[in-house]
């Protein structure tokens, strides 16, 4: 229906016309070509200089203002080329007979990352990535010198995934910073990083990170294969990648996890998962993922096991409420009144006296207005958002009850449902639950509890059929893996979590061999 009708190469062939074209010998022509290709963009700086002991060689330094660090260019390129060469050791004098490039590279350019470029494609790409380009008259090649340095948000505290205990730093929009943040946590040589460039126009850097020896090679291969299959003009956020590589589109459940916390990524890498970092977004993807991962917060592993277990159980309960709360209320009050204790039934009936809508419509109205409030407060500046939520909850809620549109019990149900849905650490999973909630409400309104159970069966069937990069989504519950139960419904003490998830890291599953801490021998005799 929505598939691209012409998946051929008609439009994709136009763009890379320049990639293979070589540079010319003429410097002016080259510069002209750059100006033409980039449409005389004003942020491209072309600085023509003359180098050599007798200033006999014409050269040009080209860089993108704002992306390249102009101070470094002055210090490490211009200074070297313009001053140092003139004062250089006569042995290294630049004469036109020698390969000047080699000489420059070996003796003069005091920069770390220098690459030869001979074709226009790579040249423009590295220019637009922030590198400085050095071209010389008479040579059909140039240098791309790593001078990237742009204004960056810097590593700050995460705003979407906050914790009480644990590291506060979050990823930034810069890929390099992000990989560095991970490397800082895992200093093992087996932590491998592979980079790809995806997006015909945006040419976004996408990095795959994993720990060789722990990760299952099949998964890495699969990740590569799926990334290579992508043919798109641009990648602006990791969400693009997520949608293009996940296993199943027709599912409300996310089969790829994303986070902006380096510690979560590090923990996932240690479990044998693969991280996909995309330049330009702090959201890092993790594959493969199972349903249970959305219930595990980073904090679970920093707090003591008993606290974590209780909180995790609380999370399951709140997901249950969030998914089924209004549905159960509708089913019980419109189909199964015999389930209510007499006194409660009388109270609820008294509240509903005069409410003009059926319970289902009542619930639907409340749920929809809650979703509107939630979305509105999300988009507004923080200060206004608070007042909106006060207006929404207090004023509208109590006014609706006073006016007799809504029964008070329904307000309570919707409120507790709404709050429960925020308990999940993963926002996208919370959204899934919200969507399914409406489905369950519909089923409850037409078939009561029977409808709910049918809905639950359908959801479980669907969950069981999902896979994330070949790993069953419901593992380790189904297929049931006894050893992996230590971190599923409960979080066992650290010393008991001795192995990695069986389904994800197929080889090398032993994780630790520590023994439970023993009590010191009491020698005081007291």
């Amino acid at each position: 229906m929505f598939k691209n009708p012409s998946l051929g190469n008609s439009d994709s062939s136009k763009e890379p016309e320049q990639t293979k074209v070589p540079l010319t010998i003429n410097l002016q022509e080259n510069l002209q070509h750059i100006n033409n290709s980039l449409g005389n963009s004003s942020d491209i700086v072309i600085r023509e200089i003359q180098i050599g002991s007798e200033r006999q060689i014409k050269a040009a330094i080209i860089f993108t203002d704002g992306l390249a660090d102009s101070k470094s260019i002055q210090n490490f390129i211009m200074e070297s080329l313009m001053l140092n060469i003139a004062n250089a050791d006569p042995n290294h004098l630049i004469t036109s007979q020698e390969d000047i490039f080699q000489v420059l590279k070996d003796h003069f350019l005091t920069a770390g990352d220098i690459k030869d470029v001979t074709e226009w494609g790579p040249l423009l790409t590295s220019l637009l990535s922030g590198d400085a380009i050095l071209l010389l008259e008479g040579y059909s090649k140039g240098f791309s010198i790593g001078m990237r340095g742009w204004k960056d948000r810097g590593v700050t505290e995460t705003t979407t995934e906050t914790v009480i205990r644990g590291p506060k730093e979050g990823f930034t929009e810069s890929l390099r910073t992000n990989t560095a943040l991970i490397r800082r946590k895992i200093k093992d040589p087996n932590l491998w990083l592979e980079t790809k460039e995806i997006g015909r126009v945006t040419k976004t850097d996408v990095a795959i990170m994993y720990i060789k020896g722990i990760v299952s090679d099949d998964i890495v291969k699969e990740v590569h294969a799926r990334l290579d299959r992508i043919n798109i003009d641009g990648i602006l956020e990791s969400g693009y990648i997520e949608e293009l590589i996940h296993d199943e589109t027709y599912t409300p459940f996310p089969t790829i996890y994303h986070t902006e916390r380096p510690d979560i990524i590090a923990a996932d890498l240690l479990e044998g998962k693969v991280a996909i970092l995309v330049d330009g977004t702090p959201m890092v993807l993790v594959v493969p993922i199972v349903l249970i991962s959305f219930f595990q917060a980073a904090e679970d592993y920093y707090q003591r096991a008993d606290i974590s277990t209780l909180i995790r159980i609380l999370r399951f309960i709140s997901v249950f409420i969030s998914l089924l709360g209004p549905a159960l209320y509708i089913a019980i009050t419109t189909f199964h009144q015999e389930m209510l204790p007499t006194q409660l039934l009388i109270n609820l009936a008294a509240q509903r006296e005069g409410v003009p809508f059926p319970a289902f419509i009542e619930a639907l109205m409340m749920e929809v207005s809650f979703e509107i409030l939630r979305e509105a407060s999300l988009r507004l500046p923080k200060a206004i958002a608070q007042s909106i939520s006060i207006v929404g909850t207090l004023v509208i809620g109590s006014a609706a009850v006073e006016a007799g549109f809504i029964s008070a019990a329904m307000v309570i149900v919707v409120a507790i449902t709404a709050i429960s849905s925020f308990v999940l650490p993963a926002y996208n999973m919370a959204m899934t639950i919200r969507m399914l909630r409406f489905l369950m409400m519909g089923l409850a309104a037409s078939f009561g509890l029977y409808g709910i159970i049918i809905g639950v069966i359908a959801i479980v069937l669907h969950l069981c059929s999902l896979r994330s990069f070949g790993v069953p989504y419901m593992s380790p519950l189904a297929p049931f893996i006894l050893e992996d139960q230590k971190d599923t419904l409960f979080r066992m003490p650290r010393w008991a979590m001795f192995s990695r998830p069986r389904m994800i890291s197929k080889n090398n599953i032993i994780r630790e061999q520590s023994t439970p801490p023993e009590k010191p021998q009491d020698n005081t005799g007291g």
Binding site: T334, Q337, E338, I346, A349, A350, A359, L439, S446, G451
Partner: protein, 398 residues
């Protein structure tokens, strides 16, 4: 294929929405019946349903309107009568929350069988309400009295019966399951608790009843109705009711008194009681042994006794044993001679222990029951004396 699956899902969901909602009934479409009373008028049944006025019952508002209302209709069958109520009531009578079912004595004398079938067949009803008999009155009167403490009279009737059965013992809580299993059993006849109105019925029907202290009219449980199969044949008094509950092992706690040797009385709070009924067979003749083990605390002393001595306690225990034995025996005698039917389930006891002999005995069990020798053995244990040991009466010199 996947998209087709999605299409199918959407289709199913649409189907559900379009076709669903057969059974849906909103809370404010229900007339919640909490009590049902069945009377006989001629050949027809007169059914009264006490329906809650939710707004009046639940806290906040409350005002001029009575918390309940009573719908009445007459029909050839009970279901017809119930449905006929919709000609009066704006809402359908909802039966799942019945707390009490009152049968009139005249109906009970004719047989309650037909009234019970509906209650057990109708899927809407549950089995957790109590069934009582209106003693020497019509059943509908019982649902007309307004009550205090608990605004809904039927709920009050329910909790009154439950509390009195727990604390005082002459009444017994019978729900539908129990009644039916006793009706079909070959070795047992059912009993039901009786209910009557005390005071001025007329005032009881108006709100005035709850405005004065004490209420001019109220409802009180008293006595047990004895049934031969499904027909009422007589009544047991409160004390006999207590004996019945002793034999039925139904005593949660009760109070009884013994006469002290030197006059005066001493009352005992029974806190635990366990009864074992055993049957034995001697030359084809069944015998019954009833063993009661009670634990009782001293509740009230109105005589001179030195409770600090173990001998006194033993003596009181003996007295209590004999007293209880006496009234249990008396009750059994009365039932054997007056009603001539087995309400205690002795037949069941024999059936369980001697299935072969029972096959012969069951044909005229009730005749056998009249002459069955019953041996009652009661043992009391008095572990505690309450907050004080000897009564201050001891030290109060006159």
């Amino acid at each position: 294929m996947k998209r087709k699956g999605l299409l199918l899902c959407i289709f199913i969901i649409l189907l559900i929405f379009v076709t669903g909602c057969w059974n849906r009934r909103e809370l404010n479409d229900l007339a919640i019946a909490v009590g049902i009373a069945i009377d006989k008028s001629g050949n027809q049944y007169k059914v009264s349903a006490q329906v809650v006025e939710p707004g009046e019952v639940s806290g906040k508002k409350g005002g001029s309107v009575a918390p309940v209302t009573l719908y009445q209709a007459t029909g050839d069958t009970i279901l017809e009568a119930l449905r006929q109520m919709t000609t009066i009531s704006p809402r359908k009578i909802y039966l799942a929350h019945i707390r009490i079912l009152v049968l009139s004595e005249s109906l009970a004398r004719e047989g309650i069988r037909d009234s019970l079938d509906l209650m057990s067949r109708e899927p809407e009803t549950r089995n957790d309400y109590f069934i009582v008999v209106a003693k020497q009155a019509t059943a509908e009167d019982m649902l007309k009295i307004l009550t205090n403490l608990e605004k809904v009279p039927s709920i009050r009737l329910f909790s009154t019966l439950e509390t009195s059965a727990k604390q005082w013992a002459p009444t017994t809580t019978v729900n539908l399951d129990k009644l039916i299993s006793e009706l079909v059993s070959e070795g047992r006849h059912p009993v039901l608790t009786g209910l009557n109105v005390i005071g001025d019925k007329k005032i009881g029907e108006s709100k005035k009843n709850v405005e004065t202290v004490p209420s001019p009219a109220d409802m009180q449980y008293s006595g047990l109705a004895v049934f031969r199969k499904d027909k009422l044949i007589g009544w047991l008094s409160d004390e006999e009711g207590k004996a019945y509950n002793y034999i039925d092992n139904n005593i949660k706690s009760t109070v009884g008194h013994v006469n002290c040797p030197d006059g005066g009385k001493l009352s005992l709070k029974v806190i635990r009681s366990n009864t074992k009924v055993k049957g034995s067979l001697r030359d084809e003749h069944p015998r019954i042994t009833i063993e009661v083990q009670s634990e009782a605390n001293v509740g009230e002393v109105q005589c001179h006794l030195d409770l600090t001595k173990t001998e006194t306690i033993a003596e009181v225990e003996k007295l209590a044993d004999r007293k209880t034995e006496e009234f249990i025996e008396k009750t059994i005698k009365k039932v054997q001679q007056e009603y001539k039917i087995d309400i205690f389930g002795f037949g069941e006891v024999i059936r369980r222990s001697y299935p072969k002999a029972w096959k012969k005995l069951k044909k005229n069990w009730d005749q056998t029951f009249v002459n069955i020798p019953v041996n009652v053995k009661v043992t009391h244990k008095i572990p505690y004396l309450g907050k004080i040991s000897n009564s201050f009466l001891e030290d109060m010199k006159e």
